[in-house]
């Protein structure tokens, strides 16, 4: 019976390993630096993934720039300022719910609020704002955990020498929890890179030609391509795409996401073993 449970656990874990290897195996023929640096050509049936890759980088960085300050300070509020009031309860509930809202509803929200109401139009900016709100709970939750791990005695010592609340946070709490906060930010990056639905109607398009190899090819109010959307396009919308090309796109996307997650996990493990208190 114990082994039955072990088998069940392994049945959950094994698919991941098999899938990753299978995808790599199928993608192997196209994986090269050229694949990353060339644009899709011939109706996306040949070439590389430069335009979608660059689009994803833009979306991730911009959404991070928006979500990071708001998320970190929201966590500071929840952990350092908020008492046991109905307000705190409401904020906590809101964070839980924000994490549970379906991604397609985020897409509708982004379309209604940023693209149409705010008049930004379908653009990298609108898509990044949508992504930022969608990934906010990830940053809030992990930052909160990192802040809660700083012992109260650190804060008390600081208050006792006359520092204000903010000075304590700025000079004691934040520096001591920086690696934990970093973990959350890395997870946000991996989450934002993989999302498709929220960016689909807010700024990402099927195809856009840009200069290959030029990292500043997109403007803030341009529409862009994205890796996740590109994978959707080449695997369902365009007929007769050569197999290695679709598998290659999947592997690059999966690779980026798993790499960032592995990084976050490594930081966490290192952190746990090096803890001073």
């Amino acid at each position: 019976m114990k082994y039955l449970l072990l088998t069940m656990t392994l049945l959950i874990v094994l698919p991941l390993i098999l899938i990753v290897f299978y995808l790599f195996y199928k993608a192997a023929p196209v994986l090269s630096l050229d694949f990353l640096l060339e644009n899709p050509i011939h109706g996306m049936r040949a070439g590389g993934i430069w335009a979608p890759l660059l689009g994803t980088i833009y979306l991730v960085l911009l959404s991070l720039l928006i979500a990071m300050p708001v998320g970190v300070f929201a966590a500071v509020y929840l952990n350092e300022y908020a008492g046991n009031s109905w307000m705190t309860r409401a904020v906590n509930l809101a964070v839980v719910n924000l994490a549970g809202v379906p991604s397609i509803v985020h897409a509708l929200f982004g379309l209604g609020a940023f693209v149409l109401f705010a008049g930004i139009g379908r653009s990298i900016l609108a898509a990044s704002l949508t992504l930022a709100i969608m990934t906010l709970p990830v940053i809030i939750a992990s930052t909160k955990e990192a802040l809660a791990a700083v012992p109260l005695s650190f804060r008390e010592a600081c208050w006792n020498v006359g520092a204000t609340r903010w000075q304590t946070i700025r000079h004691v709490v934040l520096p001591n929890s920086i690696s934990g906060i970093l973990t959350g930010i890395i997870l946000q990056v991996s989450r934002a890179a993989g999302e498709t639905a929220p960016v689909m109607f807010t700024g990402v398009v099927f195809f856009k030609a840009i200069t290959p190899g030029d990292p500043f090819a997109y403007g803030l109010l341009d529409q862009c391509m994205a890796l996740s959307m590109h994978l959707f396009t080449v695997s369902t919308q365009v007929p007769d795409v050569p197999e290695p090309l679709t598998y290659g796109t999947a592997v690059v996307l999966l690779g980026v996401v798993l790499l960032f997650n592995a990084l976050a996990i490594l930081i966490r493990i290192k952190l746990r073993s090096r803890k001073k208190w």
Partner: protein, 299 residues
């Protein structure tokens, strides 16, 4: 310290504290914002021509018909719930089984590794899952069950199960860990076998947490978009077997929003579906949260 400088410092402190407060409540604002803006886009049609009776009871979804436009979403609602239900039938036993294994039997080193792999499993983007369903899983199922060629519900449900299993395992394991060791010791001391202890003591004691884990899994499955869009076959009908294709609420929005002209009736009906989805997941999340909080309060 000069009084001026002190005044400046306390002003700075005040400004920063206001800013932190604003960020804190922003989460609440965003949740309201999502509801308001999605509602706003669909409201006009909701109060003007929306036929709730047709929407919930008819399976005739013909949003672009020239002669007689019909918005019957029953098949989509049934599609969403049948595929989520099937996913849970697969995911719950595996998820709870794995949670029991991790919390009761697993040696610590193996546990660390397994938890990392399960975390990575949760990180795979939904579009990649959809792609896996489309390519690897589907051909496997067609061969295995002799199913008619093409995508089907089982395909989507297995993918959804793999996507929601990590959340069930991690919340379920927390729930089992929260059961005090004294419960385990007491039942073992009374001569229970380990299995009697698990089934008669541990699972009943952790039932609320396990229920919350399952609910969050359901929430994940109902809200999932890209994977079901790509892997369930996308045909509007009430399924009679698990090997038939279905279409879900989320997939319908994703597939049709691009083609519906802004502010047309069709476009607004898609936003009404959005309101429905938001409400469903909102209720699921609040319930799960209340249950989890209830557990924490019990000593």
């Amino acid at each position: 310290m000069k009084p001026q400088r002190q005044a400046l410092e306390s002003l700075k402190e005040w400004v920063i504290e206001r800013f932190i407060w604003l960020c804190g409540v922003s989460a609440v604002l965003f949740v309201f914002g999502i509801f308001i803006f999605v509602f706003r886009e669909g409201a006009d049609y909701l109060f003007r021509g929306f036929k709730a009776g047709e929407f919930f009871t008819s399976i005739e979804w013909y949003p672009t018909s020239r002669t007689h436009v019909r918005y019957g979403a029953l098949a989509l609602i049934v599609g969403t719930f049948s595929v989520s239900l099937l996913a849970m039938v697969i995911a719950v036993p595996f998820g709870i089984g794995a949670a029991i294994f991790l919390s009761e039997f697993c040696p610590p080193r193996l546990k660390e590794t397994l938890k990392i792999v399960i975390e990575l499993l949760a990180a795979i983007p939904s579009v990649v899952w959809g792609f896996i369903g489309l390519t690897i899983m589907n051909s496997m199922l067609v061969r295995l069950f002799n199913a008619p060629l093409g995508l089907n519900m089982l395909n989507g449900a297995i993918i959804l199960a793999l996507m929601s299993v990590p959340i069930i395992v991690s919340i379920g394991e927390d729930a089992l860990k929260a059961v005090p060791d004294s419960y385990r010791e007491a039942s073992l001391a009374l001569g229970c076998t380990r299995w009697q202890m698990i089934f008669r003591v541990l699972l009943p004691a952790a039932r609320n947490g396990l229920l919350a884990a399952v609910l969050l899994g359901v929430g994940r499955a109902v809200g999932e978009t890209m994977a079901v869009l790509m892997a369930t076959g996308h045909s509007i009908r009430i399924p009679h077997s698990v090997l038939e294709p279905v279409r879900t609420l989320t997939a319908t929005i994703a597939a049709e929003l691009g083609e519906a002209p802004v502010h047309s009736d069709h476009y607004q009906v898609l936003f009404i579906i959005g309101i429905l989805l938001f409400t469903i997941t909102f209720v699921i999340n609040i319930t799960a949260d209340l249950i989890v909080r209830g557990i924490r309060k019990e000593p």
